[in-house]
C-alpha cells in the first residue's frame, strides 16, 4: 500500500520534474526570445509612433511617421524597386534552379561535381560576390560586356545606367541559386520511380511526365522555397549598399537601404521603426496570399504529416 502510494506520488513528481527540466533547458532560448525578439518587436512597434534619435527619450507623435512615410517619394521608389527586384529575382531564380536540378537529376555523369560547381557561389559572402560582380558589370572590359561583344552586342553601362542597374542586380541574384538547386535535387530524388513508370504505361511523354508527375510532387518544395525567396528578396541590403548605394538616381534604392539610411545615418529611429513595421506587414500579407493561393497549385499528398 505504501509502496504503491509512493510509486504514484513518485510518478507525478517525475512528470513534474520532467516539466521542470524542460523549462530549465529551454530557458536560454526563452530568455533570448523574450529579450532579443519579443521585446524588440514590441519596442519597435512603440517606437514607430514616436520621434526618436537615440539620444533624447522618444516623443509620442501618433501616426505622423506613417503619414510622412506615405507621402515620401523615396519610400514609394524603394517599394517599387524592391518589388521589381523580387519580381525578377524570385521567378527567374526558381526557373533556373529548377531547370538545372531537373538536368542533374537525370543519370548524368559527375552529378556531384556539377552540384558543387552550382552550389559554391551561393555560400560565398555577399560582399565578396558584390565586389566580383562590380568588375563583371564594368562597361569597359568587364566580363559581361566582353561576352556580349563576342555575339556582336554592345552591352549597356549596367550599374551606371538608371535603366540597367536593377536588371543587373537581378541577374547577379540568379548566380546564387545553388542552395535551391540542392533542395530541388533532393526533392526530385524523393519522387517515387513508380509514378513515372505508371505515367509511361499511360503513354505520357517527357512533357506530360513533368506536368503531371514532377511538378505536382515537387510543388510543396517549390512553394516553400518561393516563400523563403520572396522574404529574402524583400529584405535585400548588401548588394544595393555595396554596389550602387541605391543609385544611380535611386534606381536601386532597396527598402532596407532606405531604412538603413533613416535609422543609422539620419538617426530617425522612430521613422525607421515605422518603415520596419510596414515591411513586416507587407511580408506577412504576401506570405499569407501565397499560402492562400497555394491550395490552387500546391499538391499535398493525402497523408499530411
Amino acid at each position: 500500500m505504501i509502496a504503491q502510494l509512493r510509486k504514484l506520488n513518485g510518478g507525478s513528481s517525475l512528470a513534474r520534474r520532467e516539466a521542470l527540466s524542460f523549462y530549465i533547458l529551454i530557458l536560454p532560448w526563452l530568455v533570448g526570445f523574450l529579450v532579443f525578439l519579443a521585446y524588440p518587436m514590441l519596442r519597435s512597434l512603440y517606437l514607430s509612433f514616436t520621434s526618436y534619435d537615440l539620444l533624447s527619450p522618444p516623443v509620442w507623435v501618433g501616426f505622423r511617421n506613417f503619414e510622412r512615410i506615405f507621402s515620401d517619394a523615396n519610400f514609394w521608389q524603394s517599394v517599387k524597386v524592391t518589388f521589381l527586384y523580387a519580381l525578377g529575382s524570385v521567378p527567374g531564380g526558381t526557373i533556373i534552379a529548377l531547370a538545372l536540378a531537373m538536368v542533374l537529376s537525370q543519370k548524368l555523369r559527375g552529378v556531384n561535381i556539377w552540384r558543387t560547381i552550382f552550389f559554391i557561389p551561393s555560400i560565398l559572402s555577399s560582399i565578396a560576390v558584390a565586389v566580383l560582380w562590380l568588375f563583371i558589370f564594368r562597361p569597359e572590359g568587364g566580363l559581361l560586356n566582353m561576352v556580349l561583344g563576342v555575339f556582336g552586342i554592345q552591352g549597356p553601362d549596367w550599374l551606371l545606367s538608371e535603366q540597367w542597374a536593377l536588371p543587373a542586380l537581378i541577374l547577379m541574384s540568379w548566380w546564387s541559386v545553388g542552395g535551391q538547386i540542392v533542395i530541388y535535387l533532393a526533392g526530385l530524388k524523393g519522387i517515387p520511380e513508380v509514378l513515372y513508370e505508371a505515367a509511361e504505361i499511360d503513354g505520357a511523354n517527357d512533357l506530360a511526365k513533368f506536368r503531371f508527375v514532377t511538378l505536382p510532387m515537387l510543388s510543396p518544395t517549390i512553394f516553400f522555397n518561393v516563400v523563403l525567396a520572396i522574404i529574402g528578396a524583400l529584405q535585400v541590403f548588401d548588394a544595393g549598399y555595396v554596389m550602387t548605394r541605391g543609385g544611380p538616381n535611386d534606381a536601386t534604392l532597396f527598402y532596407m537601404l532606405n531604412l538603413y539610411e533613416r535609422a543609422f545615418q539620419m538617426a530617425q529611429m522612430g521613422y525607421a521603426s515605422a518603415l520596419a513595421w510596414i515591411l513586416f506587414v507587407i511580408i506577412m500579407v504576401i506570405t499569407l496570399l501565397v499560402i492562400r493561393s497555394s491550395a490552387a497549385w500546391v499538391y499535398y499528398e493525402a497523408e499530411v504529416r
Binding site: 516539466a19 523549462y23 529551454i26 532579443f36 524588440p40 519596442r43 559572402s125 562590380l134 523563403l228
Partner: protein
C-alpha cells in the same frame, strides 16, 4: 488508281513521322540534347565569373580589363637597373629573322621641315579640291601627301598652311623634295621662332643651325621616331644620378639616328641617359609615426644638405626641450615649425618613383600637412609611405661605351616581352595594404574570433534546447514549439533598431559582444534541426543511462552528443557560414577598423581602392572567400544535408 494511292502514301509518311517522333530513341536523344544545352548554359553562367575572378587575381592590374581579354596571366619581362630598385622593361625585336630581347636606350623624334629659302611654286587652292593627307615615304623623307584634283588630273601635293576663304596653300611634291629635310624635333623646337614670308604667304617657322649656318625652316610634319635599343645586359651598369649633375655633351650617331651624350659632374667619361623621371623621397609611415617630431624653427640649427641612405635631404641639429641635441633630417618644412626625424631612425628613407605615388592622401602631424601613399609596392614589399622632402628629377645613365652594341629600330617593330606567369603579388600586396587604419589579417582574426565564440554559443545552447523539445514532456511544450518555428521566418528589420538600442544601453556598441552574445541564447533553425535529429535517436539508449542514475545533463553529454556528431557538425558549419558572411550587423555595430570582420573590411577595401588597385581588391575578395570554400570541401555533406533540411519542408 494513281489518284487513290497518292493520299495514302502521304498519310503513311505522316504516320511514320509521328511514330518516329514519339519513339523512345527520339525522345531520349531530344531529352539528352536539351539537358546538355541547359547544363552548358548553367555551367557557363556559374563558372565564368569564378574563373574570371581567379584569373584576374593572378594578373597585374593593367591586364584585368584589356580588350581582347588576356585569360592567362602574363608578366612583363624586365631587368633590374644596376643596384637601384627601378625595373626596365624588355622588348622583343626581329633582327635578321631572329627574335631578340632588348632594352630601350633612347628615342629620338623627328619631323620634316622645309628650308624656306628653297621653297617655290606655292599655290592657293580651294580646300574642297584637296583630299586627306596620307603619310607617304618619298625618297628618304616622310611627307603628308594629299591628292589635288584639278583640271581633270590629280596631282600629289603637300599642304603647308591654311589660307583665307577655306583655301589651302599647297606645293607639289616634286617642288618640295629639294627643299625638305628630316630634322630631330628637339633641334627644331630649340630654334628661335621666326615669322617667314614665302610667295606672299605668312608662315610661322624656326631659325635652326644647319652645318653651322642659321637657316629658316618651316616644320610641316609628319613626326616620326627612331628608338635605339641594346642588349638587356646594359642595364646592369645603370646608375641613378640627379639631373642637376648632368651636362650635355653632343651626340653619338647610331645607325640612322643619334643618341645624346652626357657628362656627370666630377666623373670621367661620357654617359647615355636611359630614362629621366621624378623621384620622391619617402619613408615608411610606421617609422614616420613612431619617430618624427615637430620641431620649432628656433630649435633647429646648422641647416644644410645632408645625405641619408643616399638620399639628399635638408639636415639640421635639433635641440629638444630637454636640452639634448641630435642630427636630424627635415622631412616636411613648415613656416613656424618643421617635421624632423633623427637620422639614426630614418633607415627607411629612400627614393621612390613618383609614378607609384599618384593616389596619395592628405594627412597631418600637429597641423603640418603631408601626404601618405597607402599600399606602395616596391619589389616584394608593400608599405604605407609618407612623402617627405622635395621630389627631384633623376636620370638613369649608363656609360657611353654601350653605344657600340646599340642599334636603331622603328618603334613599331618593338613588342613588349611577356611571359605567362601566375602573379601572387596581388595577394601579398592585398595583405600588406593598409585599409581603414589596419590590415587585412586583422579582419580575418576578428572573423575567426567571432566564428569560435558563436560556435561555442550555438552548440551549448541549441543542444540543450533541442533536446528539451525532442524528448521532455511538459505542459505548454507545443505552444513554445510553434513559437520557435514562427520565429524562423520573422523578418529581421523589425528588431534591428531596438537591438541596437539594447546593446547601446549595455555599452557594447563598437565591441564584438553584439555579434556573438545572442548565439548563447540559441537559434531557432539550429534548435529545430537538432530536435529533428535527436528525435531519431532510439529512446532505449537513454533509458539504460537513466537506470544507471544519470541525470538529464549527463544524458545529453554522455549519450546524445556522442551520437549526434553529424548534426553538431552541421550546427558548427552553419554558424561558420552565417558569421563569416554577416555584413549588416557588424557594419552597424562596429566603427573601429581593428574590430571589423572580413565582410566589413572588404567593403572598406573596396571603397578605398576600387579605382587604383584592382588586382589587390580581387585578390582580397578571393582571400575572403577562401575559408568558406575550404570549409565546403571538407564538410560538403553537412552543407548539402543542412540546406536540404532548410528547404524540404511543406
Amino acid at each position: 488508281m494513281d489518284i487513290a494511292t497518292r493520299p495514302t502514301l502521304a498519310a503513311r509518311a505522316a504516320t511514320n513521322w509521328k511514330s518516329v517522333r514519339s519513339s523512345k530513341t527520339w525522345q531520349r536523344s531530344l531529352r539528352h540534347a536539351a539537358s546538355y544545352i541547359v547544363l552548358a548554359l548553367g555551367a557557363a553562367f556559374m563558372l565564368f565569373p569564378m574563373l574570371w575572378m581567379i584569373s584576374a587575381s593572378l594578373k597585374p592590374a593593367w591586364q584585368i580589363f584589356t580588350d581582347p581579354p588576356i585569360w592567362i596571366p602574363m608578366h612583363w619581362e624586365a631587368v633590374r637597373a644596376g643596384n637601384t630598385n627601378r625595373m626596365i622593361n624588355l622588348w622583343t625585336v626581329e633582327v635578321d629573322g631572329q627574335s631578340k630581347k632588348v632594352i630601350e636606350i633612347g628615342v629620338r623624334r623627328y619631323t620634316t621641315v622645309v628650308n624656306a629659302a628653297l621653297l617655290q611654286n606655292l599655290q592657293t587652292v580651294p580646300a574642297s579640291e584637296v583630299g586627306d593627307a596620307v603619310a607617304t615615304t618619298v625618297g628618304d623623307l616622310t611627307l603628308n601627301v594629299r591628292p589635288w584634283a584639278t583640271n581633270g588630273e590629280t596631282r600629289q601635293v603637300v599642304a603647308l598652311a591654311r589660307g583665307d576663304n577655306d583655301t589651302l596653300v599647297v606645293v607639289a611634291v616634286n617642288d618640295l623634295q629639294a627643299a625638305a629635310l628630316r630634322m630631330p624635333l628637339d633641334e627644331v623646337n630649340a630654334g628661335d621662332r621666326a615669322s617667314l614670308e614665302v610667295g606672299g604667304v605668312e608662315f610661322r617657322g624656326r631659325t635652326v643651325q644647319l652645318d653651322g649656318n642659321p637657316v629658316e625652316v618651316i616644320p610641316i610634319g609628319p613626326e616620326s621616331q627612331l628608338s635605339v635599343v641594346g642588349a638587356p645586359e646594359i642595364a646592369a651598369a645603370a646608375t641613378l644620378v640627379s639631373t642637376e649633375n648632368l651636362a650635355d655633351a653632343g651626340f653619338a650617331p647610331v645607325g640612322q639616328t643619334e643618341l645624346p651624350l652626357m657628362t656627370i659632374n666630377g666623373q670621367p667619361g661620357e654617359f647615355v641617359m636611359l630614362v629621366k623621371e621624378s623621384w620622391q623621397p619617402v619613408i615608411n609611415e610606421e617609422q614616420f609615426d613612431a619617430n618624427a617630431v615637430v620641431a620649432p624653427r628656433s630649435q633647429l640649427a646648422d641647416v644644410q644638405p645632408i645625405t641619408v641612405n643616399g638620399v639628399t635631404m635638408q639636415g639640421a641639429t635639433y635641440t629638444a626641450a630637454d636640452g639634448t641635441a641630435a642630427p636630424v633630417a627635415i622631412l616636411i618644412s613648415g613656416t613656424q615649425a618643421s617635421v624632423v626625424i633623427p637620422i639614426t631612425s630614418a633607415d627607411t628613407l629612400r627614393l621612390a618613383q613618383l609614378g607609384g605615388l599618384t593616389s596619395a592622401r592628405g594627412d597631418q602631424l600637429q597641423r603640418i600637412p603631408f601626404r601618405v601613399q597607402d599600399g606602395f609596392s616596391e619589389g616584394s614589399e608593400t608599405h604605407s609611405v609618407a612623402l617627405v622632402g622635395e621630389s627631384r628629377e633623376m636620370a638613369l645613365v649608363v656609360p657611353a661605351s654601350v653605344i657600340s652594341e646599340a642599334f636603331d629600330v622603328n618603334p613599331g617593330e618593338l613588342t613588349r616581352a611577356m611571359y605567362p606567369e601566375l602573379r601572387f603579388d596581388g595577394y601579398r600586396e592585398a595583405l600588406q595594404t593598409k585599409v581603414a587604419e589596419t590590415y587585412f589579417p586583422t579582419f580575418f582574426r576578428n572573423s575567426f574570433v567571432l566564428v569560435i565564440l558563436n560556435t561555442i554559443g550555438h552548440v551549448l545552447s541549441c543542444v540543450v534546447v533541442g533536446y528539451a523539445f525532442a524528448r521532455l514532456r511538459a505542459p505548454g511544450k507545443n505552444f513554445f514549439f510553434v513559437i520557435l518555428l514562427g520565429t524562423m521566418m520573422l523578418p529581421y528589420p523589425v528588431t534591428l533598431v531596438p537591438i541596437y538600442e539594447i546593446f547601446r544601453d549595455l555599452n557594447m556598441v563598437n565591441t564584438l559582444w553584439p555579434l556573438f552574445l545572442r548565439s548563447f541564447f540559441g537559434n531557432a533553425f539550429l534548435i529545430f534541426m537538432l530536435r529533428q535529429f535527436f528525435t531519431s535517436i532510439p529512446r532505449e539508449l537513454e533509458d539504460a543511462a537513466r537506470i544507471d542514475g544519470a541525470n538529464t545533463l549527463q544524458i545529453i553529454t554522455r549519450v546524445i552528443v556522442p551520437l549526434s556528431k553529424p548534426a553538431i557538425a552541421t550546427v558548427i558549419i552553419f554558424t561558420f557560414w552565417w558569421t563569416w558572411n554577416s555584413f549588416l550587423e557588424p557594419f552597424i555595430f562596429l566603427s573601429s577598423p581593428e574590430l571589423f570582420p572580413v565582410a566589413v573590411g572588404l567593403n572598406f577595401f573596396k571603397d578605398q581602392y576600387m579605382t587604383i588597385y584592382y588586382d589587390r581588391l580581387i585578390a582580397a575578395s578571393v582571400l575572403s572567400m577562401l575559408p568558406m570554400i575550404v570549409l565546403f570541401f571538407f564538410a560538403q555533406r553537412y552543407f548539402i544535408e543542412g540546406i536540404q533540411l532548410t528547404g524540404l519542408k511543406g
